[in-house]
């Protein structure tokens, strides 16, 4: 099952519950950030429509692309599109080249610039948190272990029973399903977590049933080949500052088109070089042979 998040900006009241929940579950300081950084995986920004005077809160987070540029860029495969739908990052692999940050079309991955062992940070769709299970036991030292007896780590930290319970509470929605902390915290119908195809249908239903309250576009459906986070809005996405000029072809294809040719290039160029070498050296051999012949004739006569 592939998960996704639907953000309906027309429903958002700007209460900041999603942002606060995200900061809390990741042990980040509680601040009202308006731009993403290593300790803010999601932000809210206010947009005032100059014409109508209406206010729209713009929520930003990782798009969890279907074919993520960040993951294709990462030379060690630290970023990965999981079957779950989330794009995750592995601290044990990353070498800190920051090519992922350059490659991401939405400028999402952020970096711990002040650290000497810096991490790439971005929204994880609460992947690890959502996979902490209720039936995980606690070992003698007080840390939560999984069913194989291995200590459970969330965000690189081992967790206590108390932390396990907080995580469970924060990532279980009113229907009893596991969901991202931001969606659980949202008091409106503005952030919903669910199965990708169901959310696409839900987004389209909302537009269909209230055609006057929406611009007729589900942002994230087609951008860079589709993502797992969708936006609905009543103001054009362009004026909200969304990246609207993205092609529908997934970005990784642009580099793969070149990379896949490498074997052919190597073989062709190798053969060509060999041929040139053979011809040029052969020519010289022939010339030397001729010279010798001439010399021999000369000495004879």
């Amino acid at each position: 099952m592939s998960h996704a998040i639907l953000v309906d900006l027309t429903e958002c009241v700007g209460c900041g519950a999603c942002r606060d929940a995200c900061q809390q579950i990741h042990h980040f300081p509680q601040v009202e950030a308006t731009s993403l950084d290593a300790q803010n995986f999601t932000t809210l920004r206010l947009y005032e429509n100059p014409e109508s005077g209406t206010e729209t809160y713009i929520r930003q987070m990782c798009q969890h692309c279907k074919e993520p540029a960040c993951a294709s860029a990462c030379l060690v495969g630290a970023l990965e599109k999981t079957k779950d739908g989330a794009v995750t990052w592995d601290a044990n692999k990353c070498i800190g080249c920051r090519y992922c940050m350059l490659a991401c079309p939405f400028d999402i991955p952020k970096y711990e610039w002040g650290s000497n062992n810096p991490k790439v940070r971005k929204c994880t769709m609460c992947y690890q948190e959502r996979h902490v299970r209720e039936d995980y036991e606690v070992d003698d030292a007080g840390y939560v272990i999984d069913r194989k007896g291995k200590r459970v780590t969330v965000d690189g930290r081992e967790i206590t029973a108390e932390e396990r319970d907080t995580i469970l509470e924060m990532t279980t929605n009113y229907e009893g399903n596991r969901a991202s902390a931001c969606s659980v915290a949202c008091p409106m119908e503005a952030t919903i977590f669910g199965e990708r195809s169901e959310l696409v249908a839900e987004a389209q239903r909302r537009i269909r049933e209230n055609p006057d309250s929406y611009v007729h576009k589900v942002y994230g459906l087609k951008e860079v080949g589709g993502t797992s986070v969708f936006y609905l809005s009543n103001v054009s996405f362009e004026s909200l500052g969304f990246r609207t000029k993205l092609e529908e072809t997934p970005l990784p294809e642009k580099t793969w088109r070149v990379l896949e040719k490498i074997p052919d290039i190597v073989v062709t160029a190798g053969v060509a070089l060999g041929a040139v070498y053979w011809i040029t050296n052969r020519r010289e051999e022939v010339r030397r042979f001729e010279d010798e012949k001439k010399n021999r004739i000369k000495t004879k006569s």
Partner: protein
């Protein structure tokens, strides 16, 4: 003589100052992290260290494979005397690129992860593999010089036996590597200015690298001539310059057609920062070299060739910095209101790395048999290929004459 001494001391002082500056920046970088030493940010993740130390640096080291190809594959043996300095610069260039990379990586100690967690879909993985393999190949290609110095005949024989496969491998790796640095940017079509984003980037990077390899060789040979009286014949350099200009003409024709096909040619007369930078690049890389090279009685002298090559190399550097930095500025400005310019720390490290390049080259020319010179007759004797070739011109004397000394 006294004058020359004073001169050298002056440059030594300059080098020491630059190296110290780099050291200071290194302490800040490794003591307090990238944020403290650089102007890099969440918005501008790559800057001067990638743009110059890595992307440009690899290009400037292209002389190694270009000349190896000319001499061993195309069998133009008269260029043989230049192969060694070219391979040496390439090897040192690559070592310095790795140093630059270690500065830039957030977790430099895990650089070896590239070997075990391979992602074949990443251009950067290709880059990493090429850096590693080609540096090894260069070390092997360069090893005869060291082996000769210490008269290790057996090892020398082995290396000599695999010369040609090694050269071919080196050329293949260089092709991949030079082009892959262009491919790196293929994944950000929407961020780059259309002057520099092109699906043809890998090809452009490779072709311009071949040209700059020749330019760098001319420069090096001129500089070492001035400093150490070790030099090559002007006609050889003239031929290199001629090939270089030929390649540049092809390169810019292709770039022109590319701009035309992508329908951005009309932008080249727009008044903008990018346009100015594009023209600067074209002027330094093409127009000025063309002009200088064709000045009567001067263009083909040693000095004329030096300035021709010098302008070309500056143009090449401008091109690489344009691709890696200029082309992104508008995106940063429009979306975040941010402009990137390298910090003092970044500049200090880059300057120190360039200085280290000069120092290492000078030391190598002085202490290793790099340039053909009277004392180095052993070099020629070991070199059966040189004997075969029709009397290579070295320091104006035929090799045969040299050997009789």
């Amino acid at each position: 003589m006294k004058n020359a001494l004073q001169n050298i001391t002056f440059w030594k002082v300059v080098a020491a100052v630059f190296l110290l500056g780099g050291l200071t920046a290194a302490i800040v970088r490794f003591g307090w992290g990238l944020g403290a030493a650089t102007n890099l940010s969440d918005i501008t993740p790559w800057g001067l260290w990638i743009g110059f130390d890595v992307v440009t640096g690899v290009g400037l080291a292209a002389g190694g494979f270009t000349l190896a190809g000319i001499v061993y594959i195309f069998n133009l043996k008269r260029f043989k005397p230049i192969v060694r300095p070219a391979i040496l610069t390439a090897f040192m260039g690559y070592c310095l690129v790795i140093v630059g990379l270690l500065f830039d990586l957030g977790r430099p100690w895990s650089i070896w992860h590239a070997l075990i967690y391979q992602n074949p879909h990443s251009v950067l993985f290709e880059v990493a593999m090429c850096v590693m393999l080609y540096t090894t190949v260069l070390a092997l290609e360069f090893s005869p010089v060291v082996l000769e110095r210490f008269r290790m005949k057996r090892a020398l024989k082995i290396v000599k036996a695999i010369t040609i496969p090694l050269i071919v491998l080196g050329i293949l790796l260089s092709m991949l590597h030079q082009s892959s640095l262009g491919s790196l940017y293929l994944i950000v079509p929407q961020k780059m200015h259309p002057f520099w984003y092109s699906p043809m980037l890998p090809v452009f990077f490779f072709v311009s690298a071949v040209a700059v390899g020749l330019g760098m060789t001319i420069l090096e040979s001129y500089l070492s001539a001035r400093a150490f009286q070790k030099t090559l014949e002007t006609p050889l350099l003239r031929d290199l310059a001629r090939i270089m200009i030929g390649i540049l003409l092809v390169y810019f024709t292709a770039r022109f057609i590319d701009l035309l096909r992508r329908d951005v040619l009309h932008l080249v007369f727009e008044s903008s920062f990018e346009t100015a930078m594009l023209w600067l690049e074209v002027a330094l890389m093409l127009f000025i070299p063309l002009l200088l090279f064709n000045i009567k009685n001067w263009g083909r002298t040693r000095q004329g060739l030096f300035f021709t090559a010098f302008s070309m190399v500056l143009g090449f550097i401008t091109n690489r910095l344009n691709v890696t930095m200029t082309s992104l500025e508008r995106y940063y400005q429009q979306n975040f209101g941010v402009t990137y310019f390298p910090s003092i720390g970044e500049l200090a490290v880059t300057i120190a790395i360039v200085t280290a390049g000069f120092v290492l080259f000078a030391l190598a020319v002085k202490y290793l048999p790099i340039f053909p010179h009277h004392e180095e007759e052993t070099v020629l004797r070991f070199d059966n290929a040189a004997e075969r070739s029709p009397s290579p011109q070295i320091s104006g004397k035929p090799a045969a004459e040299l050997q009789r000394h």
